[in-house]
């Protein structure tokens, strides 16, 4: 079945992964800017990264018939130094007219520090100023619940962002309701050990009807699976769910949310 992986870091994946994803039915992806596993030593490193996301990766994906889109930001893991983070933030507006840029992401929190929160607020203001979609990373493991609450408060306090144009990613059983109850979209990341397995994602889809929900692989340089989305499709099918529901979660919902950018193409 055709699908969209709305969160995957292809910079860390091989061209063979693009081929396998296409063979499995992938027609479009979105790639948020993220932590590359090391701290960049200068803002110029981010300039090069943003060029890669807006020039090289779309060409590489296109070789396999996959539409590539991206989100720009400085991720929270590198946001502890506000001076450095603001140098990177200042680069972003010059890339916003690139045709595959959908919005600001993945912004958010990592360890829930004050500096991370300050830089998150400045990203939110940037998105509001340019009327952009927002993709939000929520923290890992023991930090997720607290971080999700802080993030939701920060967005509310920003005041002008429409919750329907913000997706809160990496939700799990203890955070999904907080996100959906406030009118935001929620993403479930399918990881082998942390975040959601395909089975747990299917449980959450059953509980919340699949409304304002999507699934993604968040495939990157760590333990992750670029074919996680089709594997979740198989999980849902194995439980007897309808093809309509499976398509809604893995294709229609991403199209509905991302289509608000005016730039998303399948």
């Amino acid at each position: 079945m055709t699908y969209i992986d709305p969160h995957i870091h292809m910079v860390s994946r091989t061209t063979d992964d693009y081929e396998r994803m296409r063979l499995a039915g992938c027609v479009a992806i979105t790639e948020p800017a993220f932590w590359a596993g090391y701290d960049r030593s200068s803002a110029q490193g981010f300039y090069d990264y943003f060029k890669l996301l807006t020039e090289f990766e779309p060409r590489r994906a296109a070789q396999y018939g996959i539409r590539h889109h991206t989100w720009l930001c400085i991720n929270p893991k590198e946001a502890e130094d506000p001076v450095f983070a603001r140098e990177v933030l200042a680069l972003i507006p010059s890339f916003l007219d690139r045709e595959n840029v959908l919005g600001i992401g993945e912004i958010g929190l990592n360890k829930n520090s004050r500096n991370e929160l300050t830089i998150l607020e400045e990203h939110l203001q940037l998105a509001a100023t340019h009327n952009l979609l927002v993709l939000v990373h929520t923290p890992h493991l023991e930090d997720k619940l607290k971080g999700t609450r802080l993030i939701l408060d920060a967005i509310k306090n920003q005041g002008s962002l429409d919750p329907g144009r913000v997706l809160i990613d990496h939700v799990e059983e203890h955070t999904v309701r907080h996100v959906l109850d406030r009118g935001y979209w929620a993403g479930m990341t399918l990881y082998p050990d942390t975040k959601c397995t395909p089975q747990r994602a299917a449980d959450i889809i059953e509980e919340f009807h699949g409304e304002r929900l999507w699934i993604n692989s968040a495939g990157d340089w760590g333990h992750s699976d670029p074919l996680a989305v089709p594997k979740c499709q198989i999980e849902l099918r194995g439980r007897g769910h309808t093809e309509d529901l499976i398509r809604k979660i893995s294709f229609d919902n991403p199209v509905k949310f991302l289509g608000q950018s005016g730039r998303f193409r399948v």
């Binding site: 930090d143 997720k144 609450r149 802080l150 059983e173 059953e206 009807h209 194995g238 439980r239």
Partner: protein, 114 residues
């Protein structure tokens, strides 16, 4: 009431026996893995004077949630492992996460921020 609280899809399309058929062997294996992990920790020599590890202690405590007969076990286990505080910390001490909340740091106990 939230729009998804009407219960229409709260149950999977397959019946309980089919759920067990589909997932029993996988979770039987995971349960034995957990039992073997507990044995492995118990057999290992403590490091220095440390007799407890907050991560392991949190995991053992979470097992009680599995057996309390109440619903929403996954949510409650995740909450059990979570940082219960609400204020931002002063500075990120590292990039990673440990999987369980270690409790307030010593400086916070003295009145400082984490």
């Amino acid at each position: 009431m939230s729009p998804y609280d009407c219960g229409l899809m709260a149950t999977p399309p397959i019946d309980r026996t089919a759920v067990v058929d589909r997932y029993f062997m996988e979770h039987r294996a995971k349960l034995i893995d957990l039992a073997a992990y507990l044995d492995r920790v118990e057999r290992a020599t403590p490091r220095g004077s440390a007799s407890h590890d907050f991560r392991h202690d949190a995991l053992v405590q979470a097992i009680a949630i599995l057996l309390d007969g109440k619903p929403q076990r996954a949510r409650r286990v995740l909450e059990h492992f979570s940082d219960p505080t609400s204020e931002p910390i002063a500075k990120a001490p590292m990039k990673g996460a440990t999987g369980a909340y270690p409790g307030p740091p010593k400086d916070a106990a003295k009145g400082g921020a984490r």
